[in-house]
């Protein structure tokens, strides 16, 4: 049962982290040329849109952005008792030779990102793929590391990190639930 | 038990529509015949006197039938025994055992065997196999040679060999002229013609009743008119020729009305229906359950209501089972390809008893429908509790509750839509020709023992 709950990030924390991550993306890539931002369903999609907007606000450039559903690439979906609802993957620009920045809310085992990379590869051949995660909670099962992190926190196995976003949940908050 | 034994059934509710008797009493069976029938307590003193005639005292079986109905042996004028030709489905031996277990002491077996019973040779084959069987077997001969509906079978010779009625059951006689000639010629040989009423051009390729369910399931329907047109034709031919006619397995409300009207006009006709036609509707087909596939097909609630009313008011004369055994080979198939028909001998009594419990018919009427009338229609002995008659008797426990399990039945086949139904009432003892042919093994509540 969920007994205790603590706030890891409030709305301002999230805003600051996203702004920093947006700037790091531009800095690391020496500009915005060939950059595309792709959010992973569900939380990553809203975050990707925010990152894209932050870059537009600072640099006046509207980067192509899309959304990716990785359900069909999951390695565990047949273990689930019910089939997850498949969302629409919407990437209406070519990925050839692009620098793809994948955005997700939380990185944990790395399996979701592995699936997302497979999905991206099926959609085209980008020059490289980078990963931005609002929260890195540790616990990796695959050799995958994010390039941009909002909050790095070690979380136990019995604990869950929930990223609440105003687009879905009314307000922005990252909470740890035990 | 030898056929010389003497059996005393006492304290039973005696039901004899022939005499109108419905009272508690006893029946004494001796040397294969009914030696005494009387209401009231059996008189011990008189027994001693009568017993003087018996050589061995311990040959007297005395059965306390308190709470049970004792009826003349039930007669089923419509069964398929499948011998010769389809012994994997049923044989005369297993079919008559099923009959006995269902309370029947006589059955009329339809001619659609392989070869078809259209000759005295086949009739004799059946008669020979029926010697020593658990029920009397009255073969029904084919109306036409090969059942092809073209030329008449040798009615006279078949009658001499043992045939008691004629029918092309399973297939209609489409040629009206042939049906007319059959009625005329059958009269010469005191044979009853039984009509399988179906207008084939309307029923062709149909596999269930035409209606909402057939549309929903995408199955080709058999419209009610296919039956009704032929019932009308055959009634008209019976009237025109003045010959008696029996209509088999009536399944529709309109057919019932046609028969009622013809009877009121004095046409010499009789008609039967089967328990499934007053118990089930087309909904029993469910999701392509081949156990609910038969010809004529199960109809609608309106038809079921009309059939029940007709059983009560005398329009329908008999309940026959149309016992049609099939193995999994013929039933575990695509619905279109599965064979028509269900077994019925061992479920007829409980299903007909439902009508009694619902107050639709009296117990005497039940005996009329299952014994007296079918015997009369066929013109065979039986159907009454009368001194001197062959001792064909059925003892029914009207309250016995049981789960119907075709796999435990005496029939060789299990094709029944009533599998796993909770039923109430069954034959617990059947006596044919003075011989016990069936004794319910399931913890019989009646006492049976030597005097």
């Amino acid at each position: 049962m969920r007994t205790t709950k603590s706030i890891l990030m409030n709305g301002d924390d999230i805003d600051r982290s996203l702004t920093r991550m947006a700037m790091q993306i531009v800095e690391y890539n020496h500009g915005v040329e060939n950059l595309v931002i792709i959010g992973i369903y569900t939380g990553g999609v809203s975050l990707a849109r925010r990152v894209q907007q932050l870059i537009q606000e600072r640099l006046g450039v509207s980067l192509p952005s899309g959304s990716l559903d990785i359900t069909l690439y999951r390695d565990d979906w047949s273990l689930a008792s019910q089939n997850p609802v498949v969302k629409k993957t919407s990437i209406d620009f070519p990925l050839e030779d692009k620098v793809v920045v994948l955005v997700d809310d939380v990185i944990f085992t790395g399996r979701t990102v592995r699936s997302a990379m497979d999905a991206i590869m099926d959609l085209g051949r980008p020059r490289c793929i980078q990963l931005a995660a609002l929260v890195d909670r540790g616990g990796r099962e695959l050799p995958i590391q994010p390039d941009y992190i909002g909050l790095d926190v070690q979380v136990g196995l019995g604990e869950h990190v929930h990223v609440l976003l105003r687009e879905h949940d009314g307000s922005d908050e990252v909470v740890l639930v035990q | 038990m030898s056929s010389n034994s003497s059996i005393l059934l006492e304290n039973a509710r005696l039901l004899d529509p022939a005499s109108g008797l419905d009272a508690t009493g006893y029946v004494w069976v001796r040397e294969g015949k009914i030696a005494a029938v009387a209401a009231g307590e059996f008189n011990q003193g008189r027994l001693a006197t009568d017993l003087g005639a018996l050589a061995r005292l311990d040959d007297l079986w005395r059965i306390d039938a308190r709470g049970f109905w004792l009826t003349p042996g039930l007669v089923d004028i419509h069964v398929h025994l499948r011998e010769p030709g389809d012994e994997h489905k049923e044989t005369i031996a297993t079919g008559t055992m099923a009959a006995a277990a269902g309370g029947f002491t006589a059955v009329a077996c339809m001619p659609n065997t392989r070869p078809i019973n259209d000759s005295p040779e086949v009739t004799r084959l059946i008669m020979a196999a029926a010697v020593g069987a658990a029920a009397r077997v009255y073969p029904v001969g084919s109306i036409s040679l090969g059942g092809r509906g073209e030329t008449l079978a040798p009615f006279g010779e078949m009658r001499r060999a043992g045939v008691r009625a004629l029918s092309d059951d399973g297939r209609p006689v489409s040629d009206s002229q042939l049906m007319r000639r059959a009625l005329e010629y059958a009269g010469d040989h005191r044979l009853l013609v039984i009509s399988h009423a179906e207008e084939a051009s309307l029923s062709r390729n149909g596999v269930m009743n035409e209606g909402i369910v057939s549309t929903r399931l995408g199955l080709r329907g058999i419209p009610r008119v296919a039956e009704e047109i032929m019932v009308y034709r055959d009634l008209a031919l019976a009237q025109y020729t003045g010959r008696p006619l029996h209509i088999a397995h009536v399944s529709t409300a309109e057919a019932v009305d046609l028969i009622r009207r013809a009877k009121s006009q004095g046409v010499s006709i009789t008609a039967e229906t089967a328990p499934h036609y007053f118990t089930l509707t087309e909904e029993a087909v469910g999701l392509y359950d081949t156990m609910a596939k038969m010809n004529p097909p199960l109809r609608t609630a309106t038809d079921v209501a009309a059939i029940r009313a007709a059983l009560a008011d005398g329009t329908l004369d008999a309940v026959a089972t149309d016992h049609a055994p099939h193995s999994g080979l013929e039933k575990e198939l695509e619905f279109d390809l599965a064979a028509n028909g269900i077994i019925g001998l061992e479920s007829a009594v409980p299903l007909t008893l439902v009508l009694v419990r619902e107050g639709l018919i009296t117990p005497l009427r039940l005996v009329e429908l299952l014994s007296r009338n079918p015997a009369g229609i066929l013109g065979v002995p039986g159907g009454q509790l009368a001194v001197g008659e062959p001792a064909d008797l059925t003892l029914i426990d009207p309250q016995r509750r049981f789960i119907f399990r075709p796999e435990n039945n005496q029939s060789r086949s299990q094709n029944s839509p009533f599998s796993a139904w909770e039923m109430e009432g069954k034959a617990v003892l059947t006596i044919m020709d003075g011989r016990i042919t069936w004794r319910d093994p399931g913890d019989p509540q009646f006492k049976i023992g030597h005097c």
Partner: protein
């Protein structure tokens, strides 16, 4: 429908078995899957290692191909058995065939058969999921689902639409599944056709039987013409195809009675000039090729939802 709706059907035997939520989930899933077929690499690894058997006892090119493409785009291993090389010709019963297939442990069996009810019979004898690809005159669920998807794509909704289905209602499994599906989803379904091809009890399935094609088409949002099966030899059902075309075929004059934005559908293959005039079949209001495209997406969705 909420995301929480669980798809609990193991088999897809007909629209009659599916709830509104089931249908909604299938359509939503299919809409998501549509994009995959537009990629240059038209394949996702979802059903990797799963075995899908296409068991076609009745000739079919389109449906079989559509299912096969759907399964392959989901990375399933597919095997096709058609009537010519099936055991049916050797006198093996369907139940025998089913038991043999079951022993090879497939995950999904897609079956088409000329006899109504066969997919259900198969489902009772195998562990695999069974998808009905058309059985006799019973149902053709994937066709109705792709029709629903196509209509929703063009009209934005199903609820409240007037859908006219014209032709051989008796023998058409497409009509049966569509009547059930569209009425379940809140459309008003009207049917019209020759009286010889109008079965009893259509109203009980949810359709309004119209006395004429004109009455059915009047004010309709969707006009669906059914294929006339030329192999109807048992019954004197129709005098001629010519007569059918004149009195029951969909023409531009008839379409003028429908709503101006009405779309024309047909399950294919079209007998041009019989059910539809060629100009209509290939014209701007025809969504016949969209139906084909959506067929792959719907079949992918069905495979995804049952083969897990």
């Amino acid at each position: 429908m909420s995301d929480a709706h669980t798809f609990s059907r193991r088999h897809i035997l007909g629209l009659a078995d599916l709830s509104v939520d089931d249908i909604e989930l299938i359509l939503q899933t299919a809409e998501s899957f549509k994009e995959i077929s537009q990629r240059s690499i038209k394949k996702v690894p979802t059903l990797r290692g799963k075995t899908v058997i296409n068991l076609f006892f009745e000739p079919s090119t389109r449906t079989r191909l559509s299912f096969e493409i759907a399964a392959k785009r989901l990375s399933a291993d597919t095997f096709s058995i058609s009537s010519v090389d099936s055991s049916a010709v050797k006198g093996e019963t369907l139940v025998d065939t089913a038991r043999n297939l079951a022993a090879m442990n497939p995950d999904c069996i897609i079956i088409r058969h000329s006899r109504s009810g066969v997919p259900g019979l198969l489902a009772r004898h195998v562990k695999a999921s069974v998808i009905n690809a058309g059985d006799g005159a019973h149902e053709h669920p994937s066709q109705a689902l792709l029709d629903l998807m196509t209509v929703r794509e063009h009209k934005g909704r199903i609820q409240g639409l007037k859908v006219a289905i014209i032709g051989d209602i008796t023998h058409s499994r497409v009509a049966h599944s569509n009547i059930i599906g569209f009425s379940k989803m809140g459309a008003e379904v009207r049917v019209a056709g020759p009286a010889t091809l109008m079965p009893p009890g259509v109203a009980a399935m949810g359709a309004m039987v119209c006395s004429s094609v004109r009455a059915a088409v009047a004010d309709a949002d969707v006009v669906m013409a059914l294929r006339v099966q030329q192999e109807r030899q048992f019954d004197p059902l129709l005098p001629s195809l010519r007569e059918y075309a004149i009195f029951y075929g969909i023409t531009p004059e008839l379409m003028a009675l429908a709503r101006p934005d009405a779309i024309i559908m047909h399950p294919g293959p079209v007998n041009r000039g019989v059910e539809l005039t060629p100009a209509l079949a290939d014209g701007s209001r025809s969504v016949i090729l969209d139906q084909v495209t959506n067929g792959v997406a719907v079949r992918m969705a069905l495979l995804y939802l049952v083969a897990g």
